[in-house]
């Protein structure tokens, strides 16, 4: 198999189209690869153990034919697709897998994975659900337990020093992604929404240093290239469930809008907060992956108003104020709220975010997705109507 030769955006696009190919190359080079799911597993620990973290993703274009035996149709179609890929042997290059309690279906999938794909080198971190002090402390214990189990099984030495180095490398990646997103602020943006997803998805298979190199190449290329995405009448922020495929954004960008900002688990949500330096690196990691990341599955204490009373809008401001800030900084004039069908943690947010966006004067539309490429066509008319509203 020929190694990937291209650089920058071309390389990102190639990896995006066939992530498994790069994973197999890495495997051939003697690297250990662990799959992980969603935003809560601390990838720094895998990096510190010399393991390449590989984000488990689904395939929107492939029908689910194997996962029905273990996951019913009324759960998250993205997770069903991930399981389907696993059962079809598409992740056969993995040396292990790391799950967390990122949502209730993902938690249960860790047990299902063990039953159907083997329990060897499969780990699960029971991420707490609140930001209580006791929850952060518990999270740290759970990370310690995971490190012990991983070190025992793989022989890796996961020292505080190595963890600190891994945190620094991943923070570097976070800073580079933020720099990449800065390129979307001009009008027209220097990089399209489609290209951004390709780069972000490519990062999910690369060792962190290689990912950082790719980001530097992309940033440099985008700044220098003469052609830019076309200027469009609408600039949109897209919030919601994981987006590991360009299909929706491509469709939006083909009908009169630039997707200039996002808030989802693969995009800004994973990169816009750094892991804070701490004497014990596990303190920083435990806090970051439970508290700092804005995952709707984590309950944050209700923020009270100045008089100490519960006030709906004050609470919404604390939960969703970052969306207003994103819209201001990236000059977005509309918001698409999208959630995968059966994704409860996002679904419950929808009316509240809608209320908040009404309050700050940002037009919005809600789309429910089936994680199925062919089902997107019927959304086209709704999005077109929404874009006309923004004119």
């Amino acid at each position: 198999m020929a190694q990937l030769q291209t650089k920058g955006l071309g390389r990102a696009r190639e990896i995006y189209r066939d992530r498994a190919r790069r994973a197999r190359e890495l495997k051939k080079e003697g690297r250990k690869i662990f799959g992980y799911l969603d935003i809560n597993p601390p990838v720094e620990i895998l990096t510190a153990a010399g393991i390449v973290p590989f984000h488990l993703l689904g395939d929107m274009s492939e029908p689910i034919t194997k996962a029905d035996v273990c996951l019913p149709t009324v759960v998250c179609p993205f997770l069903r697709s991930v399981m389907d890929q696993g059962l079809k042997g598409k992740y056969d290059f993995l040396d292990g897998a790391l799950f967390s309690h990122t949502c209730e279906v993902a938690e249960k999938m860790s047990h299902i994975w063990r039953i159907y794909l083997g329990d060897s080198e499969v780990y699960y971190i029971d991420t707490p659900h609140t930001t209580h002090d006791a929850a952060v402390k518990q999270h740290k214990y759970l990370l310690e337990d995971f490190i012990k189990a991983l070190a025992e099984s793989t022989g890796a030495e996961i020292t505080p020093e190595r963890l600190r180095e891994a945190v620094a490398l991943h923070n570097e990646q976070r800073a580079l992604v933020r720099e990449l997103y800065d390129l979307k602020k001009p009008d027209p943006p220097l990089i399209s929404g489609r290209e951004t997803i390709q780069v972000i998805v490519a990062l999910t298979v690369l060792p962190v240093t290689e990912g950082n190199e790719l980001l530097r190449e992309v940033i440099s290329e985008v700044k220098q290239r003469p052609e830019k995405p076309p200027q469009q009448p609408a600039r949109l922020l897209v919030w919601g469930s994981i987006m590991d495929n360009t299909a929706l954004v491509e469709m939006i960008e083909s009908i009169g809008a630039n997707v200039v900002m996002d808030d989802n688990a693969l995009g800004s949500r994973a990169y816009f907060e750094d892991v804070e330096a701490s004497d014990d690196p596990l303190d920083g990691l435990a806090y970051h992956y439970l508290v700092s990341i804005r995952n709707p599955r984590t309950f944050r204490e209700t923020v009270l108003d100045k008089e100490g009373r519960k006030d709906y809008m004050t609470d919404l401001e604390a939960r969703f104020g970052h969306l207003r800030d994103y819209a201001r900084e990236w000059h977005a004039n509309g918001v698409i709220l999208q959630a995968l069908r059966y994704c409860d943690s996002h679904a419950y947010e929808v009316p509240g975010i809608g209320d908040y966006l009404d309050h700050v004067g940002l037009p919005h539309i809600y789309l429910e997705l089936d994680y199925n490429q062919s089902a997107l066509a019927q959304l086209r008319t709704r999005i077109q109507a929404f874009l006309e509203l923004l004119d």
Binding site: V74, S110, H111, D126, H129, H132, A135, L142
Partner: protein, 444 residues
């Protein structure tokens, strides 16, 4: 004189006072509200939070129970329609949609809506969410902030995996976490209600709760008898008294003891819950509350439902008499509930120690011919594991399952006529696998 037709399911007499205890909680909450005493809307939290609230004299009601009540009384569709109109996605939990719609209407009227079942749920002083099992059970209460200004506390619960549970020190960390969370909740309540926790009363309630669960567990052990003397319908009517801690646990324990005596007498007399027990089934998970008469038709065919999901059963008994701190005691009871099947799961390398594995243990111990799987189209938690249960019960035990889709609240998602047609053909499948089990040396 017309002949009185015998009912297909022999209902337990001792079930009725337990059900009445739960129904009475609405009246008690309404009375508390009228008198200006605090009222909490609670998620089922497996006793820790309930005991804290009860020791602080807070009247508790459970919107999950109210969802079932509204479904049974036909009031849920109107509430769900309001919830849908307010922009909540329709695939969300039926119980949640019922409560959100009910609360939206209540908040608009400024009072309990007229003609709602059981006199309705009065406006709460606080909300107690739970992180156990289901994302919905705290996201739903967070969403109520749209209509209510009641503060919300979310009670944490650890969810260890079967393997992780074996890690040295892991269970003790989990217990310490539960203890810290319960103490945090007590401190939150003290601040909110401006009164001190009565820790002596708390300790007494903890002991009574442990005893209540022990007796209730013993009642269900009796159901292993052939024929089984207690049908799932009686279980579902009786379980809320434990799960929702509807009244003083001492009183509930007394009523469960009465039930034990009645069931024991039936066992001694070899009297089953259905006239001629041909098939013994486990039911997974929650029933269609709006269509419970459906079980009469199955009973007429000799189907007896002898066990249900682990999730609604009391924990396996555990000796906690040596634990001095009552908070730790109740935390250990809750933890026991969650991990009680883990040892067997680990020994048999079945990695889903709750929800899935208990069915395998139950199918053996309760000598089940089949498992009735009821995927709930709006509930991930009660549905996630059902395909694995079906697959593993067949692979490991040669116990077949029947899948009948429906919903706990939404009547339109359940088709009893079609379900009965499927049930008829499933009997042949159960007969076939009974022979298969015998050939393979399984003893039922």
């Amino acid at each position: 004189m017309a002949e009185v037709k015998k009912k297909p399911i022999n209902r337990l007499k001792t079930m009725y006072p337990l059900r009445a205890l739960v129904d009475g909680m609405y009246e008690r909450a309404q009375e508390a509200s009228r008198e200006g005493r605090p009222v909490a809307w609670c998620m089922v939290n497996w006793w820790g939070g309930d005991v804290v609230l009860r020791a602080m004299d807070v009247a508790c009601i459970y919107p999950e129970d109210y969802g079932a009540v509204c479904a049974a009384f036909g009031a849920a569709p109107a509430h769900m329609a309001r919830c849908d109109a307010d922009g909540f996605p329709t695939h969300m939990c039926g119980y949640a949609r019922n409560t959100l719609g009910y609360t939206a209407i209540m908040s608009e009227l400024g009072e309990i809506p007229p003609d709602v079942p059981m006199g309705g749920m009065p406006k709460p002083t606080l909300l107690l969410g739970s992180a156990y099992f289901c994302d919905t059970r705290y996201k739903w209460f967070q969403s109520l902030g749209r209509y209510l200004d009641a503060p919300l506390w979310v009670l944490e619960m650890p969810h260890p995996g079967v393997k992780e549970y074996q890690t040295e020190g892991a269970p003790e960390h989990d217990i310490a976490f539960l203890v810290a969370e319960l103490k945090g909740f007590a401190a939150f309540l003290e601040k909110l209600l401006k009164k001190k926790m009565d820790w002596d009363r708390f300790a007494e309630l903890v002991d009574d709760t442990i005893e209540m669960n022990r007796v209730w567990y013993e009642v269900n052990e009796l159901r292993k008898a052939v024929p089984c003397p207690m049908h799932s319908r009686d279980f579902w009517s009786s379980m809320p008294a434990s799960l929702y801690m509807a009244a003083d646990p001492k009183e509930t324990a007394r009523l469960y003891r009465d039930m034990y005596d009645e069931v024991k007498a039936l066992v001694d007399n070899r009297q089953g819950a259905v006239a001629e027990e041909k098939y013994r089934l486990a039911f997974a998970e929650l029933p269609p509350w709006h269509s419970l008469k459906f079980f009469d038709s199955l009973a007429e065919r000799g189907w007896n439902f002898v066990i249900e999901s682990w999730a609604y059963h009391p924990p396996k008994p555990i000796d906690l008499s040596h634990i001095k701190d009552p908070v730790e005691k109740i935390a250990r009871l809750t933890y026991r509930y969650f991990t009680g099947f883990f040892a067997d799961a680990c020994a048999t390398q079945d990695w889903w120690g709750y929800f899935e594995h208990p069915y395998l243990e139950y199918a053996r111990e309760y000598r089940c011919d089949g498992i009735f799987l009821h995927p709930l189209l709006t509930c991930r938690t009660a549905t996630n594991h059902l395909m694995v249960v079906q697959d593993q019960a067949m692979k490991r035990l040669k116990v077949p399952s029947i899948v009948i889709e429906g919903d706990i609240v939404d009547l339109s998602l359940f088709d009893p006529a079609d379900a009965l047609r499927k049930a008829e053909t499933f009997e042949e499948t159960m007969d076939y696998y009974k022979e298969m089990r015998q050939k393979e040396g399984l003893d039922w």
